[in-house]
């Protein structure tokens, strides 16, 4: 056993990594096509392969020469650090030349361009590692560069395109589009010239009165600047609220909707969270499955169900009450649909908060003589407050960004997310769409920043200390029964709504003829089925890269030190805060022409899914990696495994459960996505959700219901399969997976 082994010294032997990457890049550029005709990425274009281009294009000769030099560098006997520096510069030169070639040729990129980009980035990464610039190995350094390039190309670049389109009209830098939108009554109008009252004055007066009242009350208790601040905050708040309430337009509708939905959904979520953690009643067992349901169903289902139950010929409004009312078409219907859809999100956030509260604190309060009501008010509520703010902001982002419900039950009332759509589809005005997009983006992004950096910090302050293992106190019985009652009402509503869609899909003509029929299901053939399978196929294609990319980013962010790490993390999580419609128009604006032409391909749909759902993978990846003791990876490294081997043999097997649920949820989210892909679909690649929308728009509610039911049942089956495979799966990890 005591045989002495020599220490491996940095050998001056050939560097295989560089030779392989240099060789692959060389072969790819010489033999694959740099351009493509039309939408098919893999169509061979004669005359566009590197070998043929060498004579006419000096840049192409340069690219080939750089790749050849990389092979040479790998083969030469040189110290690793020197070799690394050379590789770094060669890789950078290769990237620059490739980009220059693509931009100057102006043709849509072909497979050779992909190989060149990835290859030269990998050479740069290897160079970074070998030269010691980054203290990681070639694999991780390459991963960092690749991931960074993806985030730049498919998240930041589209957003940049939206920003640019909002201030560049017909090639000229101009604020015309911005001012015309901001001044338009469809965006926001406070003082309605048709009404006799002066809305602006009323709002200002209300604000002033509030400020005065608050200021006086505060001054009576406390002196000084705090009273002034409270008065200012209250005054401005009431002024803004009053202006919104009295005003008109998409901004007003979206913001008011977000506030109302945020408050109600958060309140419901808090009640449900208390129930699930503290209730003595049986009803709490229903919370898990019912909280998942709205998350995994396509966004139109609830809207459709509202039409069935409360529409003009709705089962409740018309069938039971004999009304013929359109009151549910508009903000009320949208609000109800959103509350039903987003209360579970608030619940999942707040469940964690309620659970993390240390029961010992409540016991301490109780031994000090506090009643249960008192504890709720003085201990639970203050501790839950940051979590409640968090839930509210998350729901508000979702509500602002929501596209499906406003378009189906909005009744033509303008909302920001739908105006983006109508500006581009109805009014063919990309600049106007971009301005709406920027406004929406500014709002969701600032909420996202507040949630992440302000509330997020406070969150951790409250949930510190060791859990004591003490049992949670049950709710006071009166509260328990009241909360359970609210929950039961919610359950009945959800069951009725989903049930109506299922029944609607086998009913002849809802509201007129309730005879059972299979005609809608039969009518799905062939279009409906075809669209369904296309959606499933593309979602499956997208789920794998979004999980792998997400996991890799999660790993890099938690375990590797490199410059630009926080920028990478922020950039990759950004797509969660960006409303789908904004990302959608970003994609058409960014990938509509020139070298990056992608619109009309199925690839752009897959890319949209991948980068939209990557944060799910990042979240679940980070959660899983944090569970793995770092010394396991160090032990593997010490035993001479390199980082890809450690990832494959140690990290991935231990994170299997998280990877699998990340995969399934990336798939589910892709299947149910609407807003980010509605601009990107073509007749050849229609998707199930947009197909439901067009069925509903053309009046065939039955077929819409049939496809929606099919989709819902399929999603439930997928989730149940996940349950079966992954026994460690529970609703909580799902919630964490889905939350920002």
């Amino acid at each position: 056993m005591a045989r002495a082994l020599t220490v491996p010294i940095a050998r001056a032997s050939p560097n295989i990594t560089l030779i392989v990457w240099g060789g692959l890049t060389l072969l790819g550029t010489l033999l694959l096509s740099w351009a493509r005709i039309g939408r098919d990425l893999f169509a061979f274009v004669p005359g566009s392969i590197g070998l043929q281009l060498l004579r006419e294009s000096p840049v192409m000769s340069g690219i080939t020469a750089v790749a050849a030099l990389v092979v040479l560098t790998g083969a030469l006997q040189r110290p690793e650090s020197q070799r690394g520096r050379i590789a770094l510069w060669l890789g950078a030169a290769g990237c620059a030349l490739s980009v220059f070639y693509l931009v100057s040729s102006g043709q849509p990129f072909g497979p050779a361009a992909i190989v060149a980009a990835l290859g030269f980035l990998a050479i740069m990464g290897t160079g970074l590692a070998l030269s010691g610039t980054l203290r990681t190995d070639a694999f991780l350094a390459t991963s960092i560069l690749w991931v960074g390039a993806f985030v730049l190309a498919f998240i930041l670049f589209p957003l940049w395109a939206v920003l640019k389109a909002s201030v560049v009209v017909k090639g000229q830098l101009s604020l015309a589009a911005v001012t015309s939108v901001l001044k338009s009554p469809a965006f926001f109008l406070l003082n309605n010239p048709a009404s006799s009252r002066n809305e602006a004055a009323i709002a200002a007066a209300l604000g002033l009165v509030t400020a005065a009242v608050v200021g006086i009350v505060w001054l009576a208790h406390r002196r000084g600047w705090r009273a002034l601040r409270a008065a200012a905050v209250a005054g401005v708040g009431i002024w803004v609220l009053a202006a919104l309430y009295l005003g008109f337009g998409a901004l007003r509708n979206s913001v008011l909707l977000a506030i109302v939905v945020g408050v109600v959904a958060t309140a419901l979520g808090f009640v449900f969270a208390l129930l699930s953690e503290r209730s003595n009643l049986r009803t709490r067992s229903l919370l898990g499955p019912l909280s998942i349901l709205p998350i995994i169903t396509p966004p139109f289902v609830l809207g459709l169900a509202l039409i069935y139950m409360f529409g003009r010929r709705g089962f409740v409004t018309n069938g039971l009450l004999g009304l013929s009312t359109g009151i549910f078409f508009g903000p009320l219907g949208v609000a109800i649909a959103q509350i039903l859809a987003y209360a579970p999100i608030a619940y999942l956030v707040l469940q964690g908060v309620v659970q993390a509260m240390d029961a010992a604190m409540e016991e301490a309060a109780e031994t000090l003589g506090a009643s249960r009501w008192h504890i709720l008010r003085t201990v639970i509520w203050p501790l839950a407050r940051p979590g409640i703010a968090n839930a509210f902001l998350l729901v508000a982002i979702e509500s602002l960004a929501d596209f499906g419900n406003p378009i189906i039950v909005g009744g033509g009332v303008p909302f920001l997310a739908t105006e983006v759509f109508f500006a581009i589809i109805g009014r063919f005005n990309p600049s106007e769409a971009a301005v709406y997009g920027v406004v929406l983006l500014a709002m969701t992004l600032s909420i996202f920043l507040v949630q992440r950096y302000w509330i997020g910090r406070r969150f951790y302050v409250t949930v510190t200390g060791k859990p004591s293992g003490a049992q949670h106190r049950p709710l006071p019985p009166a509260l328990d029964y009241a909360a359970s009652g609210v929950f039961l009402a919610w359950v009945v509503l959800i069951v009725a709504l989903y049930g109506s869609v299922f029944i609607g899909s086998i009913t002849k003509l809802w509201g007129f003829d309730y005879a059972l029929t299979l005609q809608h299901i039969k009518a799905l053939s062939p279009t409906g089925w075809q669209v369904f399978w296309t959606t499933a196929r593309l979602s499956a294609y997208a789920a794998i890269p979004s999980t792998i990319l997400g996991f890799l980013i999660g790993y890099l962010v938690t375990r590797v030190e490199f410059p630009g790490k926080s920028a990478l993390e922020f950039g990759s999580m950004l797509s969660f805060a960006v409303p789908g419609t904004v990302m959608g128009i970003g994609y058409i604006l960014a990938f509509n022409q020139g070298a990056l032409l992608l619109t009309g391909t199925s690839l752009i749909l897959v890319l949209a899914f991948v980068f939209r759902n990557m944060p799910v993978g990042i979240r679940s990846g980070i959660a899983a990696i944090l569970q793995i003791d770092r010394s396991l990876e160090e032990a593997s490294t010490m035993l001479r495994a390199n980082s890809p081997t450690t990832l494959r043999r140690i990290v991935m097997p231990l994170a299997r459960a998280a990877l699998l649920s990340g995969l399934v949820f990336a798939f589910v989210r892709a299947m149910t996505a609407v807003s980010q892909v509605i601009f990107l679909i073509t007749p050849a690649h229609n998707l199930a959700t947009t197909q439901i929308l067009s069925y509903v728009e053309y009046g065939s509610l039955g077929r819409g219901a049939a496809l929606a039911s099919l989709l819902t049942l399929f999603m439930i089956a997928v989730i149940l399969a996940l349950y079966a495979v992954n026994r460690r799966f529970d609703t909580r990890t799902v919630g964490k997976t889905l939350m920002t």
Binding site: M1, A4, V7, G132, S631, E634, M638, L639, R640, N642
Partner: protein, 349 residues
């Protein structure tokens, strides 16, 4: 032992942000020796170990394995192996797979790997447990698997990061004896990190006592215990009574008006005397023909089985004094305290 040190650190400094974890440390680990880094938490001992392993790169200075500079070599290219505090056994692999992992990474063919795994498991006394998973093993067994996993790859240097801290007291003593025996049997160079001074004394050939990123003293356990370089080392290793005194003449010190004979030499001036609790003797009657006898009064006593520990007020000071194999009755009241001159150590600071 080989004359050339096996591991050498030269002026190594490591910072984390603005905090200096290791401050200009130079020290050697001799070939086939068992060397321990001992110190309170946060003293930089684990940082040194992880720099030798390659997980951290020193901000300044160099690390050598024999005469090869390894400062820039990543962990998986150094021929070191580490036993982690939490063992870091791969939970999804059984014992044989855990132990065989390093061989697999070195592309050792399985006909060769199998016997080597069996051999090392026998060495740590775990034959027959090959197919068990880590969670099916006791803490001591997990510890041995971790040791076997590190040994099977025949590392040049074995690194151990507080490997016993998760075991209960009795098991800790047993496993540390086993680790020591294995190390001597295999003649492996071992670098060990602990904050437990008793463990360090029991297991090591050499100990380096650290505080605030520096090595305060390096020596054999006996040297460290009996000839501590300063007050911190004396206090951290074992129990100590410190007495402020002045050297008044060759072989004589004065402390609080009492003159004591010493054998330790020191230039005249103020000094600190170190009296280990077991170096002081207690008598009911004044002993005949003894130097340095003082009167004292027992303030408190505590029975510890193999010894009795007394807190005795002597000349306005309270000393801790250990008396081995106490009889049926503990001492109390007025006593006589004898300090043999050769057991008084002068701390030179």
């Amino acid at each position: 032992m080989n004359a050339q040190p096996h591991v050498r650190l030269r002026n190594v400094t490591k910072r984390f942000g603005s905090a200096i974890a290791v401050n200009d440390v130079s020290f050697d680990v001799a070939q086939s020796s068992f060397t321990t880094l001992l110190g309170p938490s946060g003293c930089g001992k684990t940082t040194i170990l992880r720099m030798v392993a390659g997980f951290y790169r020193p901000d300044a200075g160099d690390i050598f394995l024999r005469d090869v500079r390894v400062t820039d070599i990543p962990p998986h290219r150094r021929n070191t192996a580490m036993v982690f505090q939490e063992y870091a056994l791969f939970p999804h692999m059984n014992v044989a797979e855990n132990v065989g992992y390093g061989l697999r990474m070195r592309r050792v063919p399985s006909p060769e790997a199998g016997p080597r795994i069996a051999q090392v498991l026998e060495l740590v006394g775990l034959s027959g447990h090959e197919l068990k998973f880590p969670h099916q093993l006791s803490g001591g067994q997990q510890q041995r698997v971790a040791l076997a996993r590190a040994l099977v790859v025949e590392p040049e240097v074995l690194l151990l990061d507080e490997p016993l801290s998760n075991l209960d007291a009795k098991l800790r003593v047993r496993v540390r004896t086993e680790i020591r025996q294995l190390q001597q049997q295999l003649r492996k160079t071992a670098l060990y990190v602990t904050h437990d001074q008793e463990e360090a004394l029991a297991i090591s050939d050499r100990i380096a006592v650290m505080d605030r990123g520096r090595i305060l003293q390096s020596g054999t356990p006996l040297e460290i215990y009996h000839r501590p370089a300063n007050r911190f080392v004396a206090d951290f290793v074992g129990l100590a009574n410190f007495v402020d005194a002045r050297v008044v003449a060759a072989g004589r010190v004065e402390a609080r008006g009492v003159t004591l004979a010493i054998t330790d030499g020191a230039p005249s001036g103020p000094v600190t005397l170190l009296l280990r609790p077991e170096a002081i003797r207690l008598h009911r009657q004044p002993p005949a023909h003894a130097a340095n006898v003082l009167g004292g009064r027992i303030a408190a006593a505590s029975f510890l089985g193999t010894l009795a520990r007394y807190w005795v007020d002597v000349n306005g000071m309270r000393w801790t004094i250990d008396v081995p194999s106490p009889g049926d009755q503990l001492l109390s009241g007025e006593v006589f305290v004898e300090i043999p001159p050769d057991r008084i150590h002068i701390l030179k600071e």
